[in-house]
């Protein structure tokens, strides 16, 4: 009976206490938390015990005469030195855990976590693919139109997946403001700061789904960027990985959308990415968030609308969706915005993915006609024109987000490619770098790309932004063939 009662009380306490978590570190942190808690409880009982005894026994109403003591030197020394020793003693185990945590291990999986307003991007550095993870709780639940689910605000469209019994190294950075990635069950809370790459280690012992949230105020929707981690057995993880790689390799088809398709898809995209600010009825929340009904942008020229979607508006909450959404998604959402809420009377265009693709090329590259920018290029004839076209398309998809459209990167995190040692140096080293990546940085291995793609993108980099033989000597520039890449793969 008593054990039962005791048991239920302790479960009750546990349900209001810090989680013990599922990693060796989280257990140790839980222990030090409890140690500190008990030390505080004991100190509290001692201090308040004496205090309340005095309040009960030494009251004026009991007719006591006050003592004349004004202090006691030995007592002062005791209650200075004793707490000092206890506290310094307590800092030892805490420091020990910290040093163990800080120790670098051999990472088997490396994941770059990028925080951005208001979602997470997970990049599997060993496999060269990445995806965004958005809140998936429907707006209707937030507005109380539908009952709230168990994982209300703690569910995402695509969770990050890690294998168990593996040292996983997370790298943290941000693309806009500070964020902080916290999963209580891992006892990992690391700030994501633009220009910094912080590190956190996870060694999960139990498969399962673990949830957390952003813990650094990062703007309007700070409360709506949850984290979901699925820890899988090694076998399940490999299966997931294989499936995930397939998606990456699939090329985006050069589709032509019908209006119905575009509207349907557009609405879906709108609900996930736009609605939280611009509202379901498109009215926004002026003046901070402009409405879209009959708006200057949504009923103005298509090119302006596309530009806002791709590049965002600096200094406002409107972010660049260029690399978060595919051409098809952007075309669809623009079509939706130009046709919904009565905007079809003023605008009403059907925008195709091709238009977006062309806009991405933009004015930054005045070269060839828009035709060659298409992903499908005949590579049977490998000449410099083909190589540059393939290269540009690969660059835009895989390199530009870090190294930027003008190749200048974002130093110190992402080096500039303009006249960089590798890009104007020997070709073999350049190929090597792409195949292997650079350990400890965000530069992933791109070995999963085809020989043509690698040859193309290297040719492109070595012949753009003023990188050429005339300026940098005989190692620079050049036309790289798929065969050279193939040979390097063998050499490795």
């Amino acid at each position: 009976m008593y054990t039962l009662l005791l048991g239920s009380v302790s479960t009750l306490f546990a349900s209001y206490n810090m989680t013990q978590g599922v990693t060796p570190m989280s257990h140790r942190i839980y222990d030090i938390h409890m140690l500190m808690f008990y030390v505080c409880v004991i100190a509290g009982i001692a201090t308040f015990g004496v205090m309340f005894y005095a309040l009960l026994k030494h009251r004026k109403s009991l007719g006591v005469t006050p003592a004349q003591s004004k202090g006691h030197l030995a007592l002062e020394i005791i209650w200075t030195v004793v707490p000092l020793l206890i506290l310094l003693g307590l800092s030892y185990p805490a420091g020990k855990i910290l040093m163990d945590m800080d120790e670098a291990k051999e990472a088997e999986v490396n994941i770059l976590v990028t925080g951005l307003q208001w979602k997470w991007k997970y990049e599997y550095l060993d496999h060269g693919f990445s995806f965004y993870s958005n809140l998936s709780t429907p707006m209707a639940q937030r507005n109380g139109l539908e009952p709230k689910g168990e994982h209300y605000l703690l569910e995402v469209d695509e969770p990050v997946v890690v294998p168990i019994h593996t040292h996983v190294r997370f790298l943290f950075t941000s693309r806009d403001v500070n964020h902080s990635w916290w999963v209580p069950d891992f006892a990992v809370k690391v700030d994501c700061i633009p220009g910094y790459i912080n590190e956190g280690w996870v060694y999960v012992e139990k498969p399962g789904t673990y949830r957390g949230q952003c813990t650094e105020l990062c703007g309007m929707l700070h409360g709506f960027m949850p984290i979901v981690v699925e820890a899988k057995t090694q076998e399940d993880y490999q299966k997931w990985l294989a499936k995930r790689m397939d998606i990456v390799i699939q090329k985006e088809a050069d589709r032509v959308l019908t209006k119905d398709e575009a509207m349907k898809k557009g609405q879906q995209v709108y609900q996930v990415h736009c609605q939280s600010c611009h509202q379901a009825d498109g009215k926004g929340m002026p003046p901070a968030i402009p409405g879209m009904v009959g708006g200057k942008i949504t009923t103005g020229p298509v090119s302006g609308h596309v530009d806002v979607l791709l590049n965002g508006i600096k200094g406002t909450g409107m972010q660049a969706f260029g690399e978060q959404l595919t051409n098809e998604e952007i075309a669809a959402v623009i079509t939706y915005e130009r046709n919904a809420w009565g905007n079809d009377k003023k605008a009403g265009e059907l925008v195709q993915p091709k238009t977006i693709d062309q806009a991405r090329g933009g004015a930054a590259l005045a070269e060839p006609s828009q035709e060659v920018v298409k992903p499908k290029v005949d590579t049977s004839q490998w000449d410099s024109k083909t190589a540059m076209a393939v290269g540009k398309s690969v660059y835009d998809k895989n390199c530009q987000s870090c190294h930027q459209i003008n190749g200048e990167g974002m130093p110190p995190m992402f080096p500039s490619l303009k006249g960089s040692k590798v890009v104007v140096g020997p070709v073999s080293q350049h190929i090597q770098l792409l195949l292997m990546g650079v350990k400890g940085t965000a530069m992933a291995s791109f070995a999963w790309m085809s020989d043509e793609e690698i040859a193309g993108v290297i040719t492109y980099k070595r012949n753009s932004w003023g990188n050429n033989e005339i300026k940098y000597g005989k190692d620079a520039g050049g036309l790289i063939t798929p065969a050279e890449v193939k040979a390097m793969r063998g050499a490795k």
Partner: protein, 524 residues
């Protein structure tokens, strides 16, 4: 010299705008603080109302962030600091036997800047995008690149507050150093004077750092610099170092005068001298020095080096030693006293217990690795509200209930004050205790909506906050009744049974001008 009598509305306004009298200015500070307290308190209640249940109740997330920002800024800079400055103005000259503050005109100016500073902040809602929305810590780049136009108003407002604080501090230091009665040595000064003396130095050291930080922010926003912008070679973490180099001592700026008030009140109602008075002064000085070398404990998750974290962990938890000295000595003062429980004493005792709990959780937060689980969760919210609300705010109430009869010449209703005490003490714990558990079970701070598992505790906290908010209306009524309606039993010069000190030698209410000639020492 008699009471200043002003007839007519215009004359009344002119009298209060142009006054250089320390008592008038003290009153202005206190009234201003009271108004700001209710403004910022209302914001807190709106926040709690939104958090009553999961789901969007009535507040847009952006508005929620604006409330969080303004509640913090207005409470700290508009309510607590001016209230403490009000105490300094009223009490320091009275306690050291000075006729007024050292620089009466500057004193006038340091107060009258404040309404303009807060006018700028509160009316910045008219700028496009509305009020600032990035928390009172205004971390870059959220406030630089991404901040709304009203950020510039906030920057200007903070500059004004800083100027006001620095002038007030210079005035306090000059008054204490040069205007004490000749026979009063430094170690003879009442402990409240000592606490403000040290606080004023602290303020002069940190306010320029805040000014520099907001100026850098302004330059980043408008003049193309990149102090805090990584893409331009700047460093967002630098902002946090600068902010917390100001910010941590700032919280001690709030707490130390509170310590001073409590150290005056406890001996009076225990009818015993302050136990270990010298050590109490050393402890305040020690906390002031330590406050400059603990700031990184706000930044344990930013990726600073492990050894740096260990250094700051040790300095942080060592702050508990001088704080402990203070608490032990208050208990020592109570021990074998003849204790009575008038309203100021009730609040002082409540302060000692609840501030200590806030201190304990501060200790837990200081332990680096455990901090990874507490940082930026409701655990932190509970911790600093326990120290600031049931700590500093309770100390301010202690001080008001203690000195109000001296200021107005009338006692207030003890019955109402007791109601105020019990309702406040119960509801403050109902508000903030659940927040520790919210934090431990994983609720981040500064979010407008939450998972359903956090519902019960949030409801409890909201109910507590509403009761707490309404209870403060009792306090407002006590002030109105006592000061404006002039009701209540006339107070004696000594006011309380066992008061000691120069301020109790002048009549109640204290005449407009006191100690025009130097008072003689009080015989023990």
């Amino acid at each position: 010299m008699g009471e200043v009598v002003a007839k007519g509305f215009r004359a009344k306004v002119t009298r209060w705008v142009t006054t250089t009298n320390h008592k008038d200015i003290g009153t202005l500070y206190l009234v201003f603080a009271l108004v700001m307290f209710f403004v910022a308190g209302l914001m807190a209640l709106l926040i709690r109302a939104e958090l009553f249940q999961p789901g969007t109740m009535f507040m847009h997330p952006n508005f929620y962030n604006q409330m969080v920002t303004l509640h913090g800024l207005v409470m700290i800079f508009g309510a607590v600091m001016p209230a403490l400055a009000g105490f300094a103005n009223w009490q320091i000259p009275l306690m050291i036997g000075a006729a007024d503050m050292a620089f009466p005109r500057m004193n006038n100016w340091s107060f009258w800047i404040l309404p303009f500073a807060f006018g700028l902040l509160l009316f910045s809602n008219f700028a496009e995008g509305g009020w600032p929305n990035f928390g009172w810590t205004f971390y870059a780049p959220l406030s630089s690149t991404y901040g709304p136009p009203s950020t510039d108003y906030m920057i200007l407002s903070i500059h004004l507050m800083g100027i006001s604080s620095i002038m007030a501090s210079i005035n306090i230091i000059a008054t204490i150093m040069t205007m004490r009665a000749k026979w009063m040595e430094y170690m003879d000064m009442p402990i409240f004077v000592w606490s403000w003396f040290i606080t004023a130095f602290l303020l002069i050291a940190i306010m320029p750092v805040l000014a520099v930080t907001v100026t850098m922010l302004l330059f980043d926003r408008h003049f193309g610099t990149s102090f805090f912008n990584a893409a331009g070679g700047g460093d967002p973490v630098l902002f946090q170092h600068l902010f917390w180099f100001f910010g941590h001592p700032e919280v001690y700026v709030l707490v130390m005068p509170a310590f001073g008030i409590i150290s005056e009140v406890v001996p009076t109602f225990a009818r015993k001298a302050l136990y270990g008075a010298k050590f109490m002064i050393y402890a305040i000085a020690c906390i002031a020095i330590l406050s400059f070398i603990v700031w990184v404990h706000h930044m344990f998750t930013t990726g600073v080096m492990a050894w740096v974290k260990i250094f700051f962990m040790i300095t942080t938890i060592v702050v508990a030693v001088p704080t402990g000295i203070k608490i032990f000595n208050w208990v020592g003062t109570l021990w074998k006293g003849a204790i009575s429980f008038e309203p100021p004493m009730l609040f002082a005792l409540s302060f000692i217990v609840l501030f200590t709990i806030g201190g304990f959780t501060g200790l837990m937060l200081g332990v680096v690795v455990a901090d990874y689980q507490y940082q930026d969760t409701y655990f932190v919210v509970a911790h600093f509200h326990h120290t600031i609300v049931s700590g500093v705010y309770f100390a301010i109430l202690t001080g008001v209930y203690y000195w109000l009869p001296k200021w107005s010449g009338r006692y207030y209703s003890f019955k109402l004050a007791n109601w105020h005490f019990w309702l406040s003490t119960i509801s403050v714990n109902l508000t903030f205790f659940p927040m520790y558990f919210l934090g431990l079970t994983g609720m981040p701070r500064r979010i407008p909506d939450y998972n359903i598992q956090f519902t019960d505790l949030n409801m409890l906290a909201t109910v507590g906050a509403m009761i707490f908010g309404i209870s403060q209306l009792i306090f407002l009524w006590i002030i109105i009744e006592n000061v404006f309606l002039k009701r209540g039993k006339p107070a004696t010069a000594a006011v309380w049974e066992a008061t000691k000190g120069l301020e109790w030698t002048v009549p109640s209410p204290a005449p407009h001008h006191t100690f025009m000639t130097e008072p003689s020492p009080i015989k023990e």
